[in-house]
């Protein structure tokens, strides 16, 4: 089983001063899966995300990615090992073009040295040409055609900015792609398109996807595996079907009253989770 896990986090604790944001969480991501991390606001999802990507160092616990412990590594080292990410509030390089954003994403996969750059050796020229070609391909892959490539990223429509962020993360050549609320603020049409894109990334590129998402329709529709956090602790994990019928989850989302209401309440809650 364990060799099928791409990421295995054990006993993760994160304290900010006296506040425990994540409390003793075990968390697994099967290789090749689409896994979702859900929970009410403030449950510690993004904190957990940031520990995987190296922005935070866990207070205790280990994170093993692809057979190697990565907790405490710098974000760039984590990215180099094969974890790409997007941000909850888009963090593109606003005054670089879409193409340049994707080129920056390839940074850790390019090898031109300072001397190579100054001498502009044949190797560096070829590498640059290949990088530009790949950047174009990635933009097309996420549905941003050539016409958008040379627009400043901040001038792109909101939905395209989300896609561009995914293209930029894909450019780092990840084994695991972390998406932090990728459909936030999108209309149903855009959400559908993006859901398709996520599935395409997994099916065609074989990249494992970890998703933080509030839109239950997206989560239930796409995930094979769901973990639920509440108040920093893991309260449930399993298939969408299991999560949908889990008392504790319903309680966390809709409050104690709804769960205690018996069958009727549960029906409402389940509908809530289903939509």
């Amino acid at each position: 089983m364990s060799e099928n896990l791409l990421l295995k986090a054990t006993g993760i604790v994160k304290q900010f001063g006296g506040l425990t944001a994540v409390n003793n969480v075990d968390f697994n991501i099967p290789r090749g899966s689409i896994t979702s991390l859900i929970g009410p606001n403030g449950a510690g999802k993004t904190t957990f995300f940031n520990m995987i990507t190296g922005l935070y160092v866990p207070t205790s616990g280990t994170i093993v990615f692809d057979g190697e412990e990565i907790q405490g590594l710098k974000p760039d080292a984590v990215t180099t090992r094969g974890i790409g990410r997007t941000f909850q509030n888009i963090r593109l390089f606003a005054h670089m073009t879409a193409l340049e954003n994707v080129l920056v994403g390839q940074h850790c996969r390019l090898h031109a040295s300072l001397l190579g750059i100054l001498a502009l050796t044949k190797k560096v020229r070829e590498e640059e040409a290949a990088a530009h070609k790949r950047a174009q391909e990635l933009l097309e892959y996420v549905g941003l055609g050539r016409s958008r490539a040379n627009e400043l990223s901040k001038n792109l429509p909101y939905g395209d900015q989300r896609r561009l962020e995914i293209a930029r993360a894909l450019a780092t050549n990840p084994k695991l792609l972390l998406l932090d609320e990728p459909t936030a603020g999108m209309n149903p049409q855009e959400t559908d398109d993006l859901t398709r894109l996520m599935r395409k990334v997994r099916d065609e590129l074989g990249i494992t996807v970890l998703l933080i998402e509030h839109d239950m329709k997206v989560v239930m529709g796409i995930s094979e595996h769901i973990t639920v956090l509440d108040h920093g602790a893991k309260i449930a994990e399993g298939s969408p079907e299991e999560i949908r019928n889990n008392e504790q989850v319903i309680e966390a989302y809709l409050g104690r009253g709804a769960a205690a209401h018996g069958k009727g309440g549960r029906q409402t809650a389940a509908t809530g989770l289903r939509t």
Binding site: P75, D76, R91, A94, H95, E100, V104, H107, E128, T172
Partner: protein, 503 residues
């Protein structure tokens, strides 16, 4: 306003200011500069496809610019020349003004016509034209006996440094208020290995590389403590380094070092203290011999070569993965890190690459002046360099060069000339100053008003054109995104074209 009138006005005001304060022959130079400004501006603001349209447009802008020169020449002949004992022959002065007008018109027309060529010929043509004017300048200077060369060379040294600072501030977004420190380090490194001070005299052609390498190493040493800092805090620390280096140079004339009670170095004169180090060896070339301070032409071409070489490599850096990492870091450090960019390495490389070019400048300056003093590297120098970068347009090489030329020429030629002229007017017998104004006699416009004028220029620039005179495309879009959508469209196309060139 009509672009032709705008371009003509800009060139004209430029030319007229120079004409007003200068003696007769400078009118040719004023014409050249006015024509260049008008021609480039009009072609940029109102791009034409047909060469005839370009010619017409260039001539119109150039004529308007030239008109200002004629008027300025006449004004000077009527108002100023009688007071300072210069020629009052109206006819002769008018003819000189007309000469200026003709030159302005011809040059403006050439630039405008070149701009109608298809890309990339237009760019090549424009750069070739600028190159020709730059290359023949020493002969113009000699022929008309301007004697500006002694000032032009240090101006170019400062422009070279501004280009280096632009890497740190413009590309990587690290506000460095102590950049002159690297200039000092480059110059002192030169002085130590190419002067009688330590009795080492290596060839200049080797020393310049040593100076650059030493400056680059110090770039890393001084950059390392600033790594965790951002914005204001970074600026304050660099300010500190900018102060430490000249003070250390002043005090290191008696340097002793003891480790565990053993005197390792005993009382060595490292830097020559406040008196500095001199003489520093001059470059030597077979055929020319050792460069002399009385013969500026070899120096002029040497600094030009160093500059072109620097620009060439700066462009390569900018269009590489390293240049993109610098920009990304400036835009969003956290996101850059999450994209796999090693912030430590990238920042240190920005500091050391920036310092390298300052090292070249220091080595050149040291051997040009043949003496260095701690006084030459004060905080003022760092601030002036920063102003040059900001005035011209952060992150854009032509902008930085223009900003550097404007500030430096204003500082070294325009203001002193203006000041001389004012003094001769005040002290001429026809002018009877009321006693309440007699303090004017003691004012030296150049030194007293210099910083005030810089201050005013910066304030005005920040209010009217915060992106600089020639901003990078990025900056312009950032600050004026809501205005002139049509123009922005064109800029995007320009940007596209440029990107495709890089591919």
């Amino acid at each position: 306003m009509n672009p032709r009138i705008r371009a003509g006005l800009a060139g004209g005001i430029f030319g007229a200011l120079i004409t007003l304060i200068s003696v007769d022959q400078v009118v040719y130079l004023a014409g050249m500069l006015a024509g260049t400004t008008a021609g480039m501006m009009v072609a940029y603001m109102e791009p034409q496809k047909k060469w005839l349209d370009g010619l017409r447009q260039g001539i119109q802008a150039g004529l308007l610019g030239g008109l200002f020169i004629v008027i300025a020449k006449l004004l000077r002949a009527i108002l100023i020349n009688p007071l300072i004992g210069d020629s009052t022959d109206l006819g002769g002065q008018f003819m000189l003004g007309l000469n200026g007008l003709v030159i302005a018109t011809i040059i403006s027309a050439i630039f405008a016509v070149i701009a109608t060529l298809p890309r990339p010929q237009d760019l090549i043509g424009r750069y070739a034209m600028v190159a020709i004017l730059t290359l023949i300048y020493p002969w113009i200077d000699q022929y008309f006996q301007y004697r500006f060369m002694g000032e032009v060379i240090p101006v170019l040294v400062f422009v070279l440094m501004a280009l280096g600072l632009n890497i740190v501030v413009g590309y990587a977004g690290l506000l460095d208020l102590g950049y002159a420190a690297f200039f000092a380090i480059g110059a002192y490194a030169t002085a130590m290995v190419a002067s009688p001070h330590f009795g080492i005299s290596l060839s200049f052609w080797l020393v310049i590389w040593i100076a650059a390498a030493v400056a680059a190493i110090f770039g890393v040493i001084l950059g390392a403590p600033t790594l965790p800092l951002r914005g204001d805090y970074l600026a304050i620390v660099t300010l500190g380094f900018g102060e430490i280096v000249p003070i250390a140079a002043t005090n290191l004339d008696t340097f002793s070092l003891s480790i565990l009670g053993f005197k390792v170095i005993d009382n060595i004169n490292l830097t020559g203290g406040p008196k500095g180090i001199n003489p520093i060896n001059r470059p030597y070339l077979p055929g020319i011999g050792a460069f002399q301070s009385s013969q500026p032409i070899p120096w002029y071409y040497l600094i030009l070569i160093i500059m072109i070489f620097s620009i060439f490599f700066i462009l390569r850096l900018r269009n590489s993965r390293l240049g993109r990492a610098w920009t990304a870091m400036r835009e969003d450090e956290l996101a850059a890190e999450a994209m796999g960019i090693n912030i430590v390495k990238t920042k240190l490389l920005a500091f050391s690459m920036g310092a390298t070019f300052s090292g070249f400048a220091g080595a050149f300056y040291g051997s040009y002046i043949s003496a260095i003093f701690p006084e030459s590297f004060r905080f003022e120098v760092s601030v002036m360099l920063l102003c040059m970068v900001i005035l011209g347009g952060m992150g854009n090489i032509p902008g930085v060069i223009l900003g550097g030329l404007l500030i430096q020429f204003a500082d070294r030629l325009f203001l002193p000339q203006l000041s001389n002229m004012m003094q001769s007017i005040i002290s001429s017998p026809q002018v009877q100053l009321p006693s309440s104004l007699s303090f004017l006699h003691e004012l030296s416009f150049a030194s007293d008003f210099r910083l005030l004028l810089f201050g005013i220029t910066l304030v005005v620039m920040m209010l009217l054109r915060p992106e600089g005179l020639i901003p990078s495309e990025r900056q312009r879009m950032e600050l004026h995104a809501d205005e002139e959508p049509v123009v922005e469209q064109q800029q995007t196309e320009v940007y596209t074209a440029r990107n495709q060139e890089t591919v």
